[in-house]
């Protein structure tokens, strides 16, 4: 009898732990969407391999840090990151689903570069902004935070290498100060607010604001154009600048 009740307990525990786990299975959310139908399947825009649809501006999520993805989804929910397509989707996800889908994307392949460029960048190009910055406007080298070849650093500085150029340029534009309709109503002073204002310590906003549109396009194209490889990168060959 004692033995039986133990088994019974284990079975019960398994059943109860399986049920929510299935509901918030990360891979299932990618393929089929969340429990709320408004949380559409991620794969329809971000691709079955998580590498995005660059030509449509849907970003690569494969291999991004789980805490970065989870933060973005929570920021969409809270309106710190405004996007007509993603805000309703993020808002339809539960906290548990966000955590699961973020972990599932983090487990996919990280971006890797074919070979680090050893060429000196030419002034006036996207590579120049990436590796030299524009210090006359206090704009640091992109790589000084996003790492060599823009491979990403830690969970706060996402990879830029191989990311959609349309997406990268759109994010830089979103950080520029603009009137957000929703916030104009909320704020009596009608202060200018950027569509994206979820950068830690405000590190990106002033950079985006001080880049010209031409520089934004050029630097987005530069990172999008870095040749991505499936082979492991030779870390010894990577250079920040």
């Amino acid at each position: 009898m004692r033995n039986f009740s133990y088994k019974y307990l284990v079975t019960l525990l398994c059943l109860t732990s399986i049920a929510p786990a299935t509901a918030a299975d990360g891979n299932s959310i990618m393929d089929n969407g969340g429990s709320n139908p408004a949380a559409m399947a991620c794969v329809s825009c971000h691709g079955s391999d998580g590498k995005g649809t660059p030509e449509s501006g849907f970003p690569r999520l494969s291999g991004l840090p789980a805490s970065y993805i989870a933060k973005q989804l929570h920021d969409f929910q809270a309106g710190r990151r405004e996007n007509a397509l993603m805000q309703p989707i993020a808002s339809a996800l539960t906290d548990e689903e966000i955590s699961s889908v973020a972990n599932a994307y983090a487990a996919q392949a990280k971006v890797n570069v074919a070979a680090a460029s050893v060429d000196r960048p030419v002034q006036g190009t996207g590579a120049w902004i990436a590796q030299r910055g524009a210090w006359d406007r206090s704009i640091p080298e992109c790589t000084s935070c996003h790492g060599p070849s823009g491979l990403g650093v830690g969970s706060a500085f996402p990879p830029l290498a191989g990311q959609s150029a349309i997406y990268l340029a759109a994010q830089l534009q979103a950080w520029k100060v603009k009137l957000a309709v929703a916030d104009k109503k909320r704020h009596a002073k009608k202060q200018d607010l950027a569509a994206r204002r979820n950068d830690p310590n405000g590190l990106m906003q002033h950079i985006a604001a001080d880049l010209t549109d031409a520089e934004i396009s050029a630097v987005a194209e530069y990172f999008a154009g870095i040749e991505v490889s499936d082979e492991p990168v030779d870390a010894a060959k990577l250079r920040l600048r």
Partner: protein, 308 residues
């Protein structure tokens, strides 16, 4: 822990350093004049644009110097004992005003320095960087490495007057706040503004072999003999340059506080350590060297024991 003028004097810590501040004497061991204040409307010296570099043997040497400057650890591993590169303290490849630009340093040498009590050439000054800031071994004065770094500095100084302290040279240190400095507030500033990149324990962050965010203390950072171990010097660097791209955002107080928090942590021993005696080393090399915590006991712990 709070260090105000009053309690500093009362406990007899840093008496000399604070006194030097009050009297406005030269407190810095470099013995070189600081940058004059920048008048409104006056622009900083502008080093030449990259495109102006001639495509010849000289241009090649300058490029080599620049490469060494930004990838010091990777290209001169024999001489670098930590995870730092020259560019970590000299932002924008040594071009940025108030980040100890090379155009503000090169034309000031040869110069007398109390640090080694002699007239130093520019090559000797750079050897000091390798020994202390890079916690390494100085390359020989006539080495290819120092020759290339000299050529690069000379190029950046094109058109700058010699022996004239230019606005923007050094780190333009803010004067110590009247209330002194407070390491507890420094910890708060560090956690909210610095830890994101430099890590909770000042360890920095690497990608592959590259240090992306330089370590600020611990075995891979500058040693106890480096100029940056002075709270006044670090406060200047931090206020004008940190967080990266958002310089000039911290108050004098916050800059001093966070500099004191960073510089109360252990780092590699001062290579000039006298017979293993921290107190003797403090008296000889640190007592008159700006404001620093080397050899000082804080909360019952002796600072300056070094870390390997």
């Amino acid at each position: 822990m709070k260090f105000s003028m009053k309690n500093l004097i009362a406990v007899g810590l840093l008496l000399c350093a604070t006194g030097a501040y009050a009297a406005g004497k030269l407190d810095d061991q470099t013995q070189l004049p600081k940058a004059p204040g920048k008048d409104a409307g006056v622009n900083y010296f502008k080093p030449p644009a990259d495109a102006e570099l001639p495509n010849n043997a000289f241009g090649e040497l300058v490029h080599r110097g620049e490469a060494l400057f930004v990838n010091t650890k990777a290209l001169a591993p024999k001489y670098v004992g930590n995870e730092l590169n020259c560019v970590n303290c000299h932002l924008d490849r040594g071009r940025k005003a108030r980040s100890a630009p090379l155009w503000g340093a090169y034309p000031m040498y040869p110069a007398y320095r109390k640090k080694n009590n002699k007239v130093n050439t520019y090559a000797e000054r750079m050897q000091g960087c390798f020994q202390f800031s890079m916690n390494g071994t100085p390359p020989p004065a006539d080495s290819e490495i120092l020759t290339a770094l000299t050529a690069y500095s000379y190029w950046l100084s094109t058109g700058a007057p010699t022996a004239k302290a230019l606005p923007g040279r050094g780190f333009d240190e803010p004067a110590q706040p009247k209330a002194g400095f407070n390491t507890a507030n420094g910890k708060k500033v560090y956690e909210s503004q610095c830890a994101l990149c430099h890590g909770d324990n000042g360890e920095g962050k690497k990608v592959g072999v590259n240090s992306v965010f330089p370590p600020l203390w611990g075995k891979d950072s500058y040693n106890w003999g480096a100029g940056m171990h002075r709270i006044n010097t670090a406060a200047g660097f931090i206020q004008h340059n940190m967080p990266l791209g958002r310089g000039e955002s911290l108050s004098d107080q916050d800059a001093w506080d966070v500099a004191s928090y960073i510089n109360m942590h252990e780092r590699p021993q001062d290579p000039r350590l006298i017979n293993g005696d921290i107190e003797a080393t403090r008296k000889k090399f640190h007592e008159g060297d700006g404001v620093n915590l080397y050899g000082v006991t804080v909360d019952g712990v002796l600072i300056g024991q070094g870390i390997k």
